[in-house]
């Protein structure tokens, strides 16, 4: 029973909330440019429209091109199961840990890169090679920060890490957590292809990374790819929100109502973090591709300093 509630809560909130985050970020960006902007729910309309359309598939592509959207969206949803959005619902057996999370997301990315190469267009290949470069550069930072959190919580499960963070109270004042938090902010920017690394709103071929891989997709396939990317973004935001800004200790545990309150507070925190991302996006410019290693090195250093603090403070 507990398992069913857990999976239902995860599935519903992750699929329903994830397009909203994009809508909020786009709206805030439009406000800063003195435009009115598309409505917040625009991505839902887009997805609805795209899901009703057939997709056009180039005849030179292989089966990878057709399979990739389904693999990408399903890996994103499975990864969503590993990141609890509220710690009040505990399943009987917790599925997987953060190593599993990273590898599942890497599987989806692997197929997306292959599909970008598959159609044989120049931009797809270019986008794929750039995506691989960025993900390789940012991966050490992800692993070091997760392992530091895991060492602190003495468990690799994300649920246990969140429980441990709840006990600290305000983790952002803890020297180790503040370093990992800053590292995670850089990670989230590069993993969800936000502005200093990649421009999500552009279709200028020379600068795009993520969009270049989706260039050949249309209709239903495009909708699946975009939904998968939005879910992935929400997963990273959930990690930040629930590890570094825990609020579940403030709510008592009294059945269904407390779960609803917890999810509501979670949604508010997600909106706050997406505001932060939008502010970051309007206040910086896109880095040149060869400056991305500098950013990745900084995020690695942040997580590594947090790791060193663990050896002095954490034990």
């Amino acid at each position: 029973m507990k398992n069913i509630i857990y999976y239902l809560v995860q599935l519903a909130s992750i699929i329903l909330l994830s397009p909203l985050v994009n809508g909020i970020i786009k709206k805030l960006k439009a406000f800063t440019q003195k435009r009115k902007g598309a409505p917040i729910l625009q991505m839902y309309y887009d997805l609805y429209k795209l899901f009703r359309k057939n997709s056009v598939v180039s005849e030179v592509t292989s089966w990878i091109f057709k399979v990739t959207p389904y693999i990408f969206v399903s890996t994103s949803i499975i990864a969503g199961f590993l990141v609890p959005i509220t710690t009040l619902v505990k399943p009987n057996s917790f599925p997987g840990d953060f190593i599993m999370l990273i590898s599942i997301l890497a599987l989806g990315r692997f197929f997306m890169v292959l599909a970008g190469l598959d159609a044989g267009s120049t931009f797809g290949g270019m986008g794929s090679s750039r995506e691989v470069m960025i993900s390789v550069l940012i991966e050490p930072a992800i692993f070091v920060s997760f392992f530091t959190l895991g060492l602190y919580a003495k468990s690799t499960s994300i649920y246990n890490i969140m429980l441990e963070a709840k006990k600290i109270g305000i983790p952002l004042l803890h020297p180790m957590f503040i370093m990992i938090f800053l590292a995670m902010l850089i990670i989230i920017i590069s993993e969800t292809s936000r502005i200093p690394v990649d421009d999500p709103s552009t279709h200028l071929e020379l600068t795009m990374v993520h969009e270049a891989m989706l260039l050949e997709y249309s209709g239903r396939h495009l909708a699946l790819m975009e939904l998968g990317a939005a879910i992935k973004q929400l997963i990273y935001i959930t990690l930040i929100v629930n590890i570094f800004l825990p609020t579940d200790q403030l709510i008592g545990n009294f059945g269904i109502a407390s779960i609803f309150i917890s999810i509501l507070i979670y949604a508010i925190k997600v909106i706050a973090v997406s505001t932060l991302i939008a502010i970051g996006e309007v206040s910086t410019v896109k880095l040149s591709l060869f400056s991305i290693p500098n950013l990745a090195a900084l995020s690695f250093i942040l997580s590594f300093l947090g790791f060193l603090q663990f050896f002095v403070l954490g034990r």
Binding site: L173, H174, P175, I178, M179, L182, P293, N294, A296, A297, L298, F300, I301, L302, F304, L305, L308, Q309, F311, V312, L313
Partner: protein
Amino acid sequence: MENYLAALSLLILFSAFVLMANKRIKSYIATIRVQSIFIAIAVGIEGAKSLKTTGHFDILLVCVLIIAFKVIYIPRLLHRTYGKVEYRVAKDFFLNIPILILICCLLVVFSYFTLSTVEGINTGESNVQMVNSISIVLIGMFFMISRKKAIGQIVGFLVIENGLFVTALFSTKGMPLIIDIGIFIDLITAVMIMGIISFKINEKFDSIDTNKLKNLRG
């Protein structure tokens, strides 16, 4: 309270890393200003603590001096020097930035292992702060030797000074006021003289690249 100071010492250390990752002289100056702001906050916390326990407000006075000199006056001086010299956008460093950052990372690890063998400071919080602040000194030295332009080297000198100040602050919980004033006057004189010298270098050699000092002039 100790936790805030540990987090602040980490942020000061991280701003030294950000300085290492910067490419342009204007952003060096902005970063050194941010680092000085963090130091001012740390000194302010120490000062508030000492005011509460002993009733002395001299550390708060040091905080005001830091804001006046390090946050406002010295960056402005550097900006003025930078505005006067002719500047061409060119690569300012010998190695590429990720390698520089990784070397700095090794410096931090080095100071961790060195300080863990020192008797007396090896307990808890003060150890973290000592390690972080001594790493700032080492990173400042490395910054000085990794940049070619004279203003970059002035900034490296400022980072070393900040590191020494933070080390003194965290190990003694605030030095006597007269020593701090002496250090400040020293620092300002040094920065002024360096600014004038880099201006002269620019006049003689048409560049503030210190490598060109080796060129012979008739």
